[in-house]
Amino acid sequence: MTVNYSDDELMAILLSREVRDGEVSACGALSHIPAAALLLAQATHAPNAQLIILDSIFYPFRTSKQFHFLAQRGELGLFFVSGVQIDRHGNYNLHQLGADHDHPKMRFPGGYGGGMIYYGAQRTVVFRTEHTKRTFVDKVDYISAAASTPPDVLRRGSPSKIISTKASFRFDKGDGLLHLDAIHPGYSFDDIRDSTGFDIGTATPAATPAPTEQELHTLRHAVRTKMIDTGTYAAWASRALAAHVAAVT
């Protein structure tokens, strides 16, 4: 049978699978999908995951200094971040569009924090809800965070995966490049090649396991309720994680 789900639900489920039990996992500001993913992981396969969701009750610190040094020490197991552009080297851009840095076409909030955590967290998963040639590019206009550093640079961790609505890429520390890792249900190799701005090779990878009924059910009920009850992106959860919404998306 076919299970219907929205892009947001798919992303939340795929991100949740990256969370490991017992680890500290976190997301930053304006992160409704990762927030749902963290709570879903805790409700399913990672009951002992320690969650940090900025600007919510799932934030154990009084000041951002405490979070900063948690990441600096390498005690953050997993961090979720998004970028406007992501390139084949695993670098992401959260600052501006346009290669002329003095006269950008558009400027974004940027982010010292993400640029620091990319090196401090053991693993970072970069997510992007738009998979097109303008978001998956050969070279980002501005490097907000670099995936690779020379061996003499102090670094605790690296990006592990890049996950979009169509596919996921694995970051290889050896060659410093992204490799197509899995294609989500409903998309073909040609779809990914045609919507990616860099060479994805020729090998067709495995198919992403589709969201299970249990994952969707937990997301739409236990997680949605928890987000609404705790005021964690409540308006989004109420709207986007309702079962009837997916059917019309």
Partner: protein, 178 residues
Amino acid sequence: MGVPYVPVVGLIGTDLLTRRDDMVVAVDPFDGKTKSVVAKAMTPDIAVFHAVAADRHGNVSCGYDSEAVILAEASGHVVVTAERIVDHIGEKDAQGTFIPGIHVDSVVHAPFGAHPGGCTGFYGQDKIHMRDYVITSKDDESFAEYIRAHVFEVQNHADYIERFVPLDWRQPARAAGA
């Protein structure tokens, strides 16, 4: 902290480093080879921030958890505006972050001093004002107009409240945080 710089794990290889002269790559002085970034200390001449309460000795109850204590420690002259001035605030009385008076040079009684931002327990963000602020900040001309109307043409704090703080916010019940 008073130290000249602080090491940071990360940022190497970013364009942030190419755009900032207060962060540079440095070699670990102990092992002589490992590289990390060092960020230059910021030492503001003056810091101004808003709190829920202060006493005349400069002890401050921020009302929220904040990094303001770092700001107060780092800055030369510290001015705190507060919703209320009270007889005495000790560390145990403070809500949120407590800042000892030793770091504070001036306190100013300024009800609605956070407007159009919010102040915990007193009032929330003025969303209509904020929306207008975002619209006017889209180009230099309209932003200059905003500054003219809200800063340069305002005679004093009472005048600002009269002109820009919503009338129903100024009722006693609301002002007390009810």
